[in-house]
Symmetry: none
């Protein structure tokens, strides 16, 4: 019985995270493709190969799933951005790194991108965004630091942070969306040019 129990525990340890991940992965795909309201919980359950009730063991309800999934994706973006980021490099280089990473990562993970866009333009996202931007958050701290530094060193235009953000990342979001929807096609050269153009928009 001891053996049996420990076995079950092991099974749980190994199996449970797998199940949660299955749900997350499938939910991401379906939400990104069909929208939040076009994706019943039962559809996620079926495609994830779990019972509908199981989803409620991992997420209190559908809204929580949607919100946690968004948090997951943000975290993934942060990891991508921080990978290879060197705070000792010049402002320009650091910006190029961040911007290029965001664009490349968005393009190579179209589901992530579409999910985030959808989320941010839904009632879910707005309140979240409000909480977030007014408070603190890691990724923005990184960016905020970079931009504050840039302004202080007179490398960047002397504009409010949100304005600089808009100038720098607005085009990025726009072109990523176009690419993902197939309205334009980016390659590495174009990406680099594009990012440099973004830099042009904020540098003094």
């Amino acid at each position: 019985m001891n053996i049996h129990s420990s076995l079950m525990i092991e099974v749980k340890i190994m199996d449970t995270p797998g199940k949660r991940d299955d749900i997350i992965r499938v939910a991401l795909e379906l939400f990104a493709e069909n929208g939040f309201h076009g994706t019943p919980v039962a559809m996620i359950a079926k495609k994830a190969g779990v019972g509908a009730g199981t989803i409620y063991r991992y997420f209190e309800n559908k809204d929580v799933l949607i919100n946690e999934l968004f948090a997951d994706l943000e975290r993934k973006f942060m990891v991508a951005i921080e990978d290879g980021y060197n705070p000792n490099k010049p402002i320009r280089e650091r910006f190029i790194h961040i911007a290029a990473t965001i664009l490349k990562y968005s393009i190579s993970h179209p589901l992530y991108f579409r999910y985030i866009e959808q989320y941010q333009n839904s009632p879910y996202g707005v309140s979240f965004r409000r909480d977030k931007l007014l408070g603190k958050s890691d990724d923005h701290d990184l960016l905020r630091e970079l931009f504050n530094e840039g302004v202080a060193q007179q490398v960047l235009k002397d504009l409010p942070l949100p304005v600089l953000f808009a100038l720098a990342f607005g085009p990025l979001i726009a072109i990523a969306r176009d690419h993902i929807l197939g309205f334009s096609i980016l390659n590495d050269t174009l990406i680099l040019k594009f990012v440099e153009a973004c830099w042009g928009g904020i540098k003094r």
Copy 2:
């Protein structure tokens, strides 16, 4: 009797379209605030002071209402842009006019802006956008002409049109959203500076 008759005609002329407009106005407001799925038809009817069935006299179904409302808003943007637009002015000036108009109009009509954003990031909007961008449309023709001309005259960077669009309007959308959500505050000076920065992003 003449007077009475003409009065009756006036009442008809003023009243019937009034009902359709009430619905449109209320629907815009509620959709922009609560999202498409957060706004039951019954809620629109109640707030518009009409019976639920009445909405279906003017719009075949909820989706049609959503789509027509979007078309309405696009038309309004177009009207705003075309007002004061002079095709004989230099490229730069024309661009500044368009960009400033879009930004000002978005800011002074936050419901319009939020509705459009929401629409374009929903299953409704994606297919529509696809049809639209690949085909022809008045507003884009205007912009397309302007940008093509700019590229030909070597006033603008030699980049694909969608890339120029992204560089020029991506920041605009971003800052408008921020302003509307209260994350940053724009004034006329800032708007002008901002628009000039956008120009900086695309001019050669």
Copy 3:
């Protein structure tokens, strides 16, 4: 003004009965084709070229329209049957006349037939039928007389009236329906044969 008024009155006199007939005719057609519940009042109004409200000037409500229409059709059948009916002819000849008339009339007025069938197999028809058959009615009096006479004269089988009715008219209804739905095709020879066979079913 006198002239004007009398004109209007004339118009009314000529127009009003026409309007009622239009409604009746269109309602018959639509009900027969789409069923009672597949035919909104508004559809009848539109096809009849009248306002929806007008129908309610001639018929208290939809149910009344349906019932009156049925009564109309029954009357028409009676007229057809009585035309050429000679109570002095032998039983057999009289029956042949009636049966052949019913069959021919049904076939040449498929809408009438389908309406009646539909009516009799709906909640409308059942209660009506109950009222009717238990009471008296012209057409059945004619038939009842004929059949009673036939039984009394020992020309017909000695069976209860409803049984004789079923034997005599059951096949008629069945073949008429088949013909109208296109499952079998009758010509005058076949009709005569058929009616004779029906006679064979009840004659002693």
Copy 4:
């Protein structure tokens, strides 16, 4: 615990199909009595003691329920007819068996009969009937064989099949309806006489 387990299994086996059957049974009753349009899904659910949504687990929509119910009833009629049918007996005897069975079964299952009649005279039934009669179907094959054989052996009149069908079964349907609606009362003797009379209508 063994006993308990087996009990639980039994409950499942007995209960789940029980729910579908409850729905079918109640739906039959209500449709037969009130008509298809006089019977909201909610009414069926309530009387069957299930939630409204449950009906949609078993039947895609109301129409499917209506159609499947009809198919069910047809199957039941076929089973009744085939029970005791002996293809080696003479034509006459076989016909008498079939006709008597149909009549008796109709009379003892008035709800089945009324449901079928209603169905066949509704938009549901007409298209179905068309598909059916023009194609092949078990019960009609049985009858078709019998009648073809009868015609070939010169036992039956030399008439098209639909005509023979009408002569043979038209009276049956008519008298069954009368009986069920209480307009005439059949007993076993009368049934036999009646069926023999039907035979008289088709035999040479």
